[in-house]
Amino acid sequence: MSILLLILAILPIVAGIIIKIMFVPAVEGISVTGAHIFFTIDLPLGGLPITESQVNSWLVILSLFFFCLFLTHDLKTKDISKRQVIAEWIVEAVDKMVLKNMGDFFMGFGPFIAAIMGLSAMTSLMSVVGLFPATSDINVVGGWAILVFFVITYYKLKAGILVYLKGFTEPVAFFAPVNVASEFATPFSMAFRHYGNVLSGSIISVLIASVLGALSNLVFQWLPEPLSSIEFFRIGLPAIFSIYFDLFSGCLQAFIFAMLTMLYVSNGFPQDEYFKRKALKHAKENKK
C-alpha cells in the first residue's frame, strides 16, 4: 500500500517530464521563453489557454496529495513507523511556527500555511528535474496572492465593517488614499516578489550556461575536431550555481511567502476590538 502511494506521488513528476519531451518544442540555442501553450479552450468570454504552468502546478498538486497520503495513511499510537515520525515532525514544526508568529487565535492556520509553503517550494523545485517552474509565471503566483489578500480582508472584517473602514483613517484621515493604495499593493508586492525571484534565478542560470559555453569554445578550440565542439565547461558547472538559484532561492521564497501571509493576517486582525465585540455579544445573550 505505501509503495503504491509513493509510486503515485512520483508518477506526476515523471508524467510532467514525458509531457515536456513529447509536446514542448525544443528551444534552439539559448533563449528565454515563457510557458508553452498546449491548446486553447474556446469560452464565451474568450479563449482559455492551457499552458505549461497550469499543467505543471496540477501535477505538483497531485504529487503532494499522494505524498501526504503516503505519510499519513495507517497511523498508530504505539510503535510508530518512520514515515509517521516525519509526518508528525512536519505538523509540529508548522504548528510551532504558526503559534510563534500568529498567536493562539490562529492555530487553525497550520494546514493552510503548510499547504502554501509545500506547494510553492515544490513548484519552484520542479526546475531541478528540468521542468518549467510554474512559480516563474506571474499568473500562478498572482492567484495565490489574491487568495491571501481575501484571507487578510476577511480577518480584517471580523470585528465589523466600521472598524475595518476606520483602519484606513489611521494615523490621520488625510492618509486614507495612501492606505487604500497600500492595501492593494500587498498582493502585488507578494506576487512580484516571488515571481521575480524565481524568474530572475532561471534567467541568470541561462546566462551562466551561455557564458560557459562560449568560454569553453574559446579555451578548447585548439583540440582536434570532435573534441573541440564539446562544451566542457557546461558539464556540471552550471549545477553548482543551480544549488543557489534553484534549491536555496526556491525554498527561501516559499518560506517568505508563507511568513508574509502569517504576518499580514495576524497584523491585520483587530484583536482588541474583536474580543470586545465578542464579550458584548456574550453579555447580551446572557441578559436574555
Partner: protein, 96 residues
C-alpha cells in the same frame, strides 16, 4: 524611414531596460546594511543566531521588492514592449 523608426523603438526599449535596472543599487545597499547589522548582532549575542538569521532573511526579502519591480519592468521592456510599440507604429502608418 520605417527601418529607422523601428530601430529607434528597439534602441529606446533597450536603453530604458538598462536605466530601469539602476534601481538595483537600492536593494544592494539596503541588504548589505541589514546583513552587516545581523553579523554585528550575532557577534554580540551568538546564542540568538537562529532568530537573527530568520529576521534578516525576511527583511532582505522585503528590501528586495523594489529591485524586483525594476527587474520586471526591464523584462517587459525587453520582451513585450518592442513588439507592442512596433505594432502601434505599423497600425498608425496603415501598413498592417
Amino acid at each position: 524611414m520605417l527601418e529607422l523608426a523601428i530601430g529607434l523603438i528597439l534602441g529606446g526599449c533597450a536603453i530604458g531596460a538598462g536605466i530601469a535596472m539602476i534601481a538595483g543599487f537600492g536593494p544592494g545597499i539596503g541588504e548589505g546594511q541589514a546583513v552587516a547589522a545581523a553579523c554585528e548582532a550575532i557577534g554580540r549575542q551568538p546564542e540568538s543566531q537562529s532568530a537573527v538569521t530568520t529576521t534578516m532573511l525576511m527583511g532582505c526579502a522585503v528590501a528586495e521588492t523594489t529591485g524586483l519591480y525594476s527587474f520586471v519592468i526591464a523584462l517587459l521592456l525587453i520582451f513585450l514592449a518592442p513588439g507592442r510599440f512596433v505594432n502601434i507604429l505599423l497600425k498608425a502608418l496603415g501598413k498592417m
